[in-house]
């Protein structure tokens, strides 16, 4: 794991669980360890029971998994950094659910995110408690939770204390309410499903952008909703009939829309011409296109338009000599040289040397061909690192801002709690709160609070934006590795 990756994990844990947990989990980043080794490594800084507790908490969230080694007596703990990184996406998950189902569902998901893993009854009751709702809503929430399971947003997970496994066919089976061992069936979030939604959203947006037509987006989203969950590069065939029956608009021109998407150079869809018209989605192709798009944007932002042109020209021509490159991109000779060398130095372009074979006279006349090309895998690796670093930088600033204004923020939090309490009792009066605010905080403090809030929001927003890039990179990696 790279240092940037570790840095982010530490930051996220610190953000979410506090300084202690992140410190305790730090040694685990460099490999799995037993409890004993961990406490020696921490050098008595933390009492053993605190370490134990931390591990239990992290186990609960599946941020740490316990590994029972056959050869050693001890159980070792392994940090699941990928899961930790998912925390960055929590807001996104919530917004997906809210958009798709509504507020109550969102509250359920939120509760489960706070709990890590829990039985359904626990999730529901906890949710009601958190939202200050009355108990008679229990059944209502229960139904909604069952629906979330049916839609595969929640999944069963094996338990640790009493080891239970989950059968493949039962992952998404909801428990009945009065089942005897209902408490033993634990649920967690099914990240895959959320990621699928995220991916679909990005694809639909891309399609709408390409065709400037929202109905195309509808068509695409209907097609995507019929895709079976799989990470195959091409989706299962979907019959036209199925799409038609699920589509709400644009029935008359459905086939035309599909032909349109199919014929576009982006080639998002494939259509089979037979008695049954089946449609498949080229997921791999889509993800590759999207990744190329990010790359281009990054290059053009970093090095300028002309460099982006050279970069893209190299990509579409695979291997190019400098002179040919200049002719294709139509950029003055000297400029081409500087720009390519700049790209080359930053590892965005690679050079392949083709030596002329030695001539008959036994000497090389010194001429080789230098062909420019891209190494997508390496580029992805590097960009991932850079984006991780940027996210880390945003987090550092978040911490610093909070740290610098600790006292003020604490006061504000206390005040907010008070206001919340008053509001719950319906005693709050807008003017009264305003007045209290004026009394407790000086004008300069209020301005400061405002700007802190804005900064924190800005950081958070950018972290989420960058996370989309990470998400696409990750999908790219997955699709391009499964092929081999």
């Amino acid at each position: 794991m790279s240092s940037d990756y570790c840095r982010i994990c530490t930051s996220i844990l610190r953000d979410y669980f506090g300084q202690d947990v992140s410190e305790i989990a730090k040694p685990l980043q460099w490999g799995q360890k037993s409890l004993m080794t961990l406490s020696t490594m921490l050098d008595g800084k933390y009492p053993r029971h605190l370490i134990q507790e931390t591990i239990i908490v992290l186990l609960q969230f599946n941020f740490v998994s316990a590994i029972c080694n056959v050869h050693s007596v001890q159980i070792e703990y392994k940090l699941n950094m990928e899961n930790i990184l998912m925390i960055l996406r929590y807001p996104k998950y919530l917004s997906i659910i809210k958009r798709k189902f509504g507020n109550q569902y969102k509250e359920l998901v939120e509760t489960l995110l706070c709990l890590g893993r829990a039985s359904l009854s626990k999730i529901v009751s906890e949710c009601i408690k958190l939202q200050n709702k009355t108990d008679d809503l229990y059944n209502n929430y229960w139904e909604k939770a069952i629906e979330l399971i049916r839609n595969e947003y929640f999944k069963r997970t094996p338990t640790y204390v009493v080891w239970t496994e989950v059968k493949q066919n039962k992952i998404f089976t909801p428990p009945t309410k009065n089942q005897k061992d209902e408490k033993k069936i634990l649920f967690t979030l099914n990240y895959n499903k959320f990621h699928q939604d995220m991916r679909n959203k990005i694809i639909i947006d891309a399609v709408v952008r390409t065709f400037d037509d929202t109905i195309v987006g509808e068509v695409m989203s209907t097609i995507l909703s019929q895709c079976a969950d799989s990470s195959a590069p091409v989706s299962n065939p979907i019959s036209l009939q199925l799409i038609r029956s699920n589509l709400s608009v644009g029935h008359n021109y459905l086939l035309e829309y599909i032909t349109m998407i199919e014929e576009d150079p982006t080639k998002f869809l494939c259509k089979s011409y037979g008695t049954m018209c089946n449609i498949t989605v080229n997921f791999k192709q889509i993800i590759n296109c999207l990744n190329d798009s990010i790359m281009d944007q990054v290059v053009s932002y970093k090095f300028g338009e002309s460099s982006a042109r050279l970069f893209r020209a190299t990509r579409s021509n695979k291997l190019l000599e400098l002179e040919r490159l200049q002719q294709t991109a139509l950029i003055p000779d000297r400029e081409t040289k500087t720009l390519t060398s700049e790209l080359f130095m930053n590892n965005y372009l690679q050079v392949q040397e083709l030596r002329k074979p030695n001539t008959r006279l036994g000497r090389n006349d010194g001429k080789s061909f230098y062909l420019y090309h891209l190494n997508e895998r390496q580029l992805h690796q590097e960009l991932t690192e850079e984006i991780l670093k940027m996210i880390g930088n945003c987090m550092m600033w978040k911490f610093k801002t909070c740290e610098d204004n600790k006292r003020l923020l604490k006061n504000k939090a206390r005040f907010d709690g008070m206001v919340q309490g008053l509001q719950d009792k319906q005693e709050a009066d807008k003017d009264f709160i305003e007045e209290a605010m004026d009394n407790l905080f000086s004008p300069s403090e209020r301005i400061l609070l405002d700007s802190i809030n804005r900064l924190l929001r800005k950081c958070q927003l950018n972290i989420m934006r960058l996370d989309v890039c990470l998400f696409l990179f990750h999908s790219y990696k997955r699709y391009n590795e499964t092929i081999k």
Binding site: I202, R309, T328, K400, S451, N462
Partner: protein, 318 residues
């Protein structure tokens, strides 16, 4: 002089009028030339000539061949101990008062055709010393027999070619060069206009309410290079005549800039359509780190870290 001005292309017609008022020996010359010409690259030996025109006596034949050789229409080659005559191809007439050295140089330059020949190659092939060669070139130039052309391949490289030849596009660089200068601004303007044209075509197609079918709308938002060329010619931006290939390379630039997409239509022609990027604004561009040249060295353990980075400080002050 006059012969040179007429240039090598008129050369064949040059011979034809002669044939009209031809008397015996001149027709013979014609026929021999014809025979040699037909033999192409293989050439014709003396025996072949005898077989081909048995009417000619030895003296006449020698006479004719000699005349042809001196008038530079054919050359003599030795192939496996036999002499063969070969046709020299359409030849530009040499300047009348040229001496042998000049002739050698002139022939070399003529043979290089529209691609021209580099002075170094002339020197090597003609075996002349540089000062002498320079003098010869100068004199040929003043006679307007040849001209020097700057090549775009290298700034200082000068090639020589016949005076009335149009330099090859590999020398001039095609439409994108004027006086051996690369015209980036011209290209820039052309790309902008082409893009505008594509954009207009697309928005017109999308706004057209008479067409209901989305597929037709989509297809009409594509434009072929011919159409773009037509538009560009109409606007009169370009003083040079642009070819379809030139426009295709301009439109390809739009593709490389991510502003257009291209596809091959049912007739096998290239079509272009303006597009947007698949993703909206790039996440990286929201942070100063996105364009930071030292991002690799920026780390918490370093002097250079995000907390005392100037750009980050500016970014975080709201």
């Amino acid at each position: 002089m006059a012969a040179v001005k007429r240039g090598h292309r008129d050369d064949l017609s040059d011979v034809a009028p002669l044939a009209k008022k031809a008397r015996e020996p001149e027709t013979a010359e014609q026929r021999v030339l014809e025979i040699i010409k037909c033999s192409g690259n293989k050439g014709v030996s003396d025996e072949d000539l005898i077989r081909a025109c048995p009417v000619l006596t030895i003296d006449e034949r020698v006479d004719v061949v000699n005349k042809l050789i001196t008038s530079n229409a054919i050359t003599l080659h030795k192939v496996k101990d036999t002499l063969r005559y070969k046709y020299k191809g359409p030849t530009a007439s040499t300047p009348g008062d040229a001496n042998t050295e000049e002739l050698v140089v002139f022939n070399l330059i003529r043979d290089s055709g529209r691609k021209g020949i580099w002075i170094r190659d002339v020197r090597i092939k003609s075996n002349l010393g540089l000062p002498r060669l320079k003098k010869i070139l100068k004199s040929l130039e003043t006679k307007k027999a040849i001209k020097a052309v700057k090549s775009v391949a290298a700034a200082r490289k000068i090639v020589y070619m016949l005076f009335d030849l149009e330099p090859d596009s590999s020398i001039t660089g095609g439409a994108w060069y004027s006086n051996q200068e690369f015209e980036s601004e011209f290209i820039e303007i052309l790309t902008k206009h082409s893009y505008k044209f594509l954009e207009a075509k697309k928005s017109k197609a999308l706004k057209n309410t008479t067409i209901r079918s989305p597929l037709v709308k989509y297809n009409t938002s594509y434009a072929t290079a011919d159409r773009v060329l037509e538009f560009i010619s109409k606007t009169g931006i370009s003083k040079v005549r642009l070819t379809v290939e030139d426009i295709i390379s301009i439109l390809d630039l739009l593709v490389y800039d991510g502003l257009a997409a291209k596809r091959v239509n049912s007739e096998g022609k290239l079509e272009y359509r303006s597009t947007k990027t698949l993703l909206s604004r790039n996440a990286v561009s929201f942070l100063p780190c996105g364009s930071c040249p030292v991002i690799k060295r920026c780390s918490d353990a370093n002097q250079l870290n995000c907390l005392n980075c100037k750009h980050m400080k500016i970014w975080t002050t709201i």
